[in-house]
């Protein structure tokens, strides 16, 4: 792994929503490669690179909690905005939250900690100025200093993710004893294939002593 990075992330709560249970959200047991990629991108990303998740280390026992919130039922249609722009006034662009209210429960994770092992690849938009060293440096420097483009989150934005770089010569944080042995986590979302009409792709997640080997995206199942 020549250009690999290791990032320790943790937070009090997390929600990596299962696509099959997204109305009343139920989180996966662990972070998805897709969410992990989003966290790395929150720290550094350019169109020239693509983050690939290699391994996910789960550090803390998997625990759930439920929370119910008032949410809104639908989205603002494009045509309303167009009409308002044409009319030059905002009076009709609004949303009465107490009229279109939905109460939804979320089953979320509590007290999570992960280490993301990842590397990046160049995309077709990379040019001569994009050397591996440059992007690796930017990422490491930012992660070391706690810099980020926006605060990374654990699935949804209300659950911010604290992060710290694990230097190449540094030890991995300890994995909780609860996670010893092998655990089959079933089919999990790998990532969304944005090149092919946003098709979700899945992989069979197996956790061995707290470590999940993430297969390359190309090997995931559509």
């Amino acid at each position: 792994m020549s250009f690999g990075v290791r990032l320790h992330i943790w937070g009090e709560r997390a929600c990596f929503t299962r696509p099959e249970m997204k109305v009343e959200r139920v989180s996966y047991d662990v972070i998805t490669p897709s969410a992990a990629r989003g966290i790395l991108e929150a720290i550094h990303w350019k169109p020239a690179i693509r983050w690939c998740i290699d391994r996910i280390h789960v550090l803390k026992p998997i625990r759930f909690e439920s929370i119910r919130r008032n949410e809104v039922a639908d989205k603002l249609p494009e045509r309303t905005v167009k009409a308002a722009m044409r009319a030059g006034c905002v009076d009709d662009v609004h949303y009465f939250v107490d009229q279109k209210r939905q109460q939804r429960a979320s089953t979320i994770l509590r007290d999570v900690g992960y280490v993301i092992e990842a590397h990046f690849e160049f995309t077709s938009r990379a040019d001569d100025s994009d050397t591996p060293g440059k992007h690796l440096d930017i990422f490491n420097r930012r992660a070391r200093q706690g810099q980020c483009f926006h605060m990374p989150c654990l699935g949804t934005r209300e659950f911010p993710a604290a992060f710290e770089l694990i230097e190449s010569d540094e030890q991995m944080p300890a994995v909780n004893d609860d996670l010893s042995g092998e655990r089959d986590l079933g089919f999990m979302l790998h990532d969304i294939d944005f090149a092919n009409g946003k098709t979700p792709r899945f992989y069979r997640a197996r956790m061995q002593e707290g470590v999940i080997e993430v297969p390359p995206f190309a090997e995931s199942l559509a």
Partner: protein
């Protein structure tokens, strides 16, 4: 409007006396509790609602400060002007034909709506740029100590239905927390602010909203709520100069000595300190309230 050029983090401390800061719809409107620690919880959306309401009140009809997610009560003074929306033909719902047009829509929403500019909004599904991620991100608020909700029974000297006339009165219940000091963390990304045009004026308005939002949210259920302290960390660098969790760690909220075995009942039972000495270089701290 030029966007803010600094990253910020903030800690807001607010307290509630004999009230219910945020009811849990799962538990018959009991105050929200963290089931593991019995600390009180207030969701991020609950606080965002109050920020929106405050801005709606302060800016009423000012251009550029409309609120998209409205509560009806805030709206009663809004005048509806009729305009003809019918000449728009619903466009094919597939991919955007014109990405620039979609961006115009988004830009227009950001310009006109404070809450879209601040918290973001999702408009339409098909057009990717129709999603706005706002610069301001709030986490859940947690109470410093475990809270003990109380159920208070109340009576009303009237009945709703005629058939209940003999009963003379009806009973009701209120859930209150005698006292709770809550702490919430917030993050403001300069880079996302650039994209929505969240400006210096907007950030000042946000601070005002955080400080004053409870003053305009009085109700029978809330009891006495007030913002107690707002601690703002300002990074020199737009990407930040220090990890957020380290800055948050420098804010300590402790019980005043000797009262640890009695429940806290007022703000003066707590001591708030900010360790300004050990703050990383390039981070300024601003205490308000």
């Amino acid at each position: 409007m030029t966007a803010i050029a600094n990253r910020y983090e903030f800690v807001l401390l607010f307290d509630v006396t004999n009230g219910n800061p945020n009811g849990d719809p799962d538990a018959g409107n009991l105050p929200r509790l963290d089931p593991e620690t019995n600390q009180g919880l207030v969701t991020d959306v609950c606080l965002k609602r109050k920020i929106r309401n405050y801005v709606g009140l302060e800016k009423e009809d000012d251009a550029g400060y409309a609120i998209y997610m409205q509560e009806k009560s805030v709206l009663n003074n809004q005048h509806k002007k009729a305009y003809d929306a019918l000449d728009i033909k619903p466009e094919s719902k597939k991919l955007p034909k014109d990405e620039a047009k979609a961006r115009d829509l988004t830009a227009w929403m950001c310009q006109n709506f404070f809450d879209v500019r601040t918290f973001g909004a999702v408009m339409t599904t098909e057009i990717n740029s129709g999603q706005v991620r706002g610069p301001v991100q709030l986490a859940f608020a947690n109470s410093i100590d475990p809270v003990v909700p109380m159920e208070v029974s109340i009576t009303r000297m009237a009945v709703t239905n005629e058939k209940d006339l003999e009963k003379e009165r009806t009973m009701g219940r209120k859930h209150i927390i005698p006292y709770g000091l809550y702490r919430v963390h917030g993050y403001i990304s300069a880079k996302l602010a650039e994209r929505t045009g969240f400006s210096e004026d907007d950030i000042e308005l946000l601070w005002r909203a955080l400080i004053n939002m409870f003053e305009h949210d009085r109700s029978a259920a809330r009891g006495e709520m007030s913002a107690r302290k707002l601690i703002i960390f300002k990074h020199d660098n737009p990407m930040g100069n220090a990890p957020a969790h380290k800055l948050f760690d420098s804010v300590k909220v402790e019980r005043v000595d000797g009262e640890l075995d009695s429940p806290a009942r007022q703000y003066s039972d707590y001591r708030v300190s900010v360790d300004t000495e050990s703050l990383p270089a390039g981070v300024g701290v601003d205490e308000r309230l």
